[in-house]
């Protein structure tokens, strides 16, 4: 199983801190999973211009291809102006409309205010659904006080993240086996 952890912001450190923790949590859960992280803060991305994702070059092309090749993705997003960052939306715009078909996608959000709790549900999940993802329920919301100097200090958040990892892996395997069985039934 190939899993990509996407830190969906070009600024800030909190989302990246959670993604780093998730990378360890995934390996701890199952070391056979090929997990890798993409941090939009260190990738040199161009804006989507409507071309096929295979035609982007440089970091943009690499990020698009790694996401397309993944079986599972966990997207980390901060909340900016009550929405997802432009950097993350740009990644979606690079990809085909059915990019997440046959993929399981989990979500974590970091935010400075608990008033943002429903933003992922309102702004991110509709995009993932449109792009045909099997979305892991629920997402994990990480608040300001859950982090201290780049470390997650809330046991509650740590346990939620462990559950997110397990749910993402179990769902990815389950959907893969359902698909295998279904495709075999077609007989071609």
């Amino acid at each position: 199983m190939k899993m990509i952890l996407l830190s969906g912001s070009n600024v800030g450190t909190k989302t990246r801190a959670v993604i780093d923790h998730l990378a360890e949590a995934v390996t701890t859960y199952d070391s056979t999973i090929e997990v890798s992280a993409i941090d939009l803060a260190v990738a040199d991305m161009v804006f989507a211009d409507g071309r096929n994702f295979t035609e982007y070059t440089g970091d943009t092309g690499r990020v698009a291809r790694e996401l397309m090749d993944a079986d599972a993705i966990i997207i980390g997003t901060p909340i900016f102006q009550a929405s997802i960052p432009a950097a993350l939306k740009n990644v979606f715009d690079l990809l085909p409309t059915s990019a997440f078909l046959d993929k399981v996608v989990g979500v974590i959000a970091t935010a400075g205010s608990s008033k943002h709790y429903l933003i992922p549900a309102q702004h991110l999940l509709p995009i993932l659904t449109y792009m045909k993802a099997q979305v892991v329920q629920p997402y994990v919301f990480v608040g300001e006080s859950d982090l201290h100097r780049g470390e997650i200090v809330s046991h509650d958040v740590l346990q939620r993240l462990d559950r997110l990892v397990e749910d993402t892996v179990v769902l990815t395997r389950t959907f893969a086996s359902i698909r295998e069985e279904r495709d075999a039934a077609y007989g071609f």
């Binding site: 035609e55 085909p96 078909l101």
Partner: protein
């Protein structure tokens, strides 16, 4: 659009059957040689792909692949098909970058079959050169050439050929307008954004007939069909899949737009183009075709086709003509009833299909499918 409408103001080129038509509109049915007495025209096309065989990863060299295209056209002619066309593509896994050159060879290697492009990427070419090439192919072939003008579904060629992707839409519209103007006027005076102006220019050679047969390539979405309709240009509607009823919306949009712009939709030819595979049973057709489609699409689009979607392509309501010969006949007849189109183009060779297998498909079309399609679509009246 007003400029496009003016392209057709040369009625002196059309001596016959114009009394019932708007005076500015050529009778395309006549110019394109569509005779409803002969029924639906049946052609095959290749995008010009050069993909490996999905079963063993092997691939013929580019020279052999180009000779295969020529062989397809010869076989199609021998099987009694009406049309063969070849696409232009500049991306990896294609061999028909110089499609007009290959069509020149096909013109020489065949005698009666109509030949054309599917499609010519007009956005990144000079319309004067495109016209010169296709008029020449028309002269070599004795009046059998057609040109389908497309916009490109990939952007690599914009960089390769020195165009700016931001001009994607306007490049095509301007170049198509100029191409149509060159086609209808002996002396062309024109100016635009993407090419030096023409002052009383005579673009030679002139094709055999009144004009080159030029179509606009349209993907499944109605927006492009509307543009074709507004310009009163014949339309080739290509599709990767989906249901016939959805594409009816595109056909209707095309005809409505044409009528809105003052053209008679009844004399605007429509061709449809898409996946085709015939086998003993629909299950065998799916089995034979799926690896080619899936692996081929992965290589050229980055994403394969889900089996679930492909399995639905044998359904009578699906537009892809995959199944037993009898099922395909029924589908084509149904599509003809729904669209009232003049030509169907079968894509028979995608995804590294062995040459012998493509020959078999052409044989099945010629012996089993084409006679039935012609028989049931021929009408007495000739426009």
């Amino acid at each position: 659009m007003s400029e496009s409408a003016q392209l057709h103001t040369t009625p002196q080129q059309h001596s016959e059957t114009t009394e019932s038509l708007p005076s500015q509109q050529p009778n395309y049915m006549h110019e394109f040689g569509f005779d409803q007495g002969q029924g639906l025209q049946f052609g095959i096309y290749s995008l010009g792909d050069h993909l490996p065989d999905p079963h063993d990863g092997s691939r013929v060299d580019a020279g052999q692949r180009i000779h295969e295209f020529i062989g397809y056209a010869q076989a199609a002619e021998a099987a009694g098909l009406d049309f063969f066309s070849l696409g232009e593509s500049h991306q990896e896994f294609f061999a028909s970058q110089a499609h007009a050159v290959i069509l020149g060879a096909i013109a020489q290697a065949t005698d009666t079959i109509r030949i054309g492009s599917s499609s010519t990427i007009l956005s990144t070419s000079d319309p004067v050169r495109v016209f010169e090439n296709f008029a020449t192919i028309d002269l070599i072939s004795g009046g059998r050439a057609e040109l389908v003008a497309g916009r490109a579904s990939r952007v690599g060629l914009f960089e390769l050929l020195g165009y700016d992707l931001r001009d994607y839409e306007e490049l095509y519209e301007e170049k198509l307008d100029l191409l149509l103007k060159i086609n209808r006027e002996q002396q062309v005076t024109w100016s635009g954004q993407f090419r030096a102006p023409l002052n009383d220019a005579e673009v030679l050679p002139r094709p055999t007939g009144q004009a080159l047969r030029i179509w606009r390539a349209v993907g499944g979405a109605p927006a492009s069909a509307v543009k074709a309709g507004l310009a009163g240009v014949p339309m080739v509607m290509a599709h990767l899949g989906g249901t016939t009823s959805v594409f009816k919306g595109t056909v209707d949009a095309y005809r409505r737009a044409a009528a809105h712009a003052g053209f008679d939709p009844a004399i605007l030819p429509i061709a449809t183009a898409g996946f085709f595979h015939a086998a003993e049973t629909s299950q065998e057709a799916l089995q034979a075709m799926y690896p080619h489609i899936n692996e081929g699409m992965k290589r050229t689009n980055g994403q394969g086709m889900p089996k679930q979607h492909f399995a639905q392509s044998v359904h009578p309501a699906s537009i892809a003509n995959i199944g037993s010969p009898q099922q395909i006949i029924e589908k084509i007849l149904h599509q003809h009833e729904v669209f009232g189109h003049q030509r169907y183009l079968a894509q028979v060779d995608f995804g590294g299909m062995a040459y012998a297998d493509v020959m078999k498909q052409i044989e099945i079309i010629g012996t089993e499918i084409l006679p039935a399609v012609k028989k049931y679509t021929a009408e007495e009246a000739i426009r």
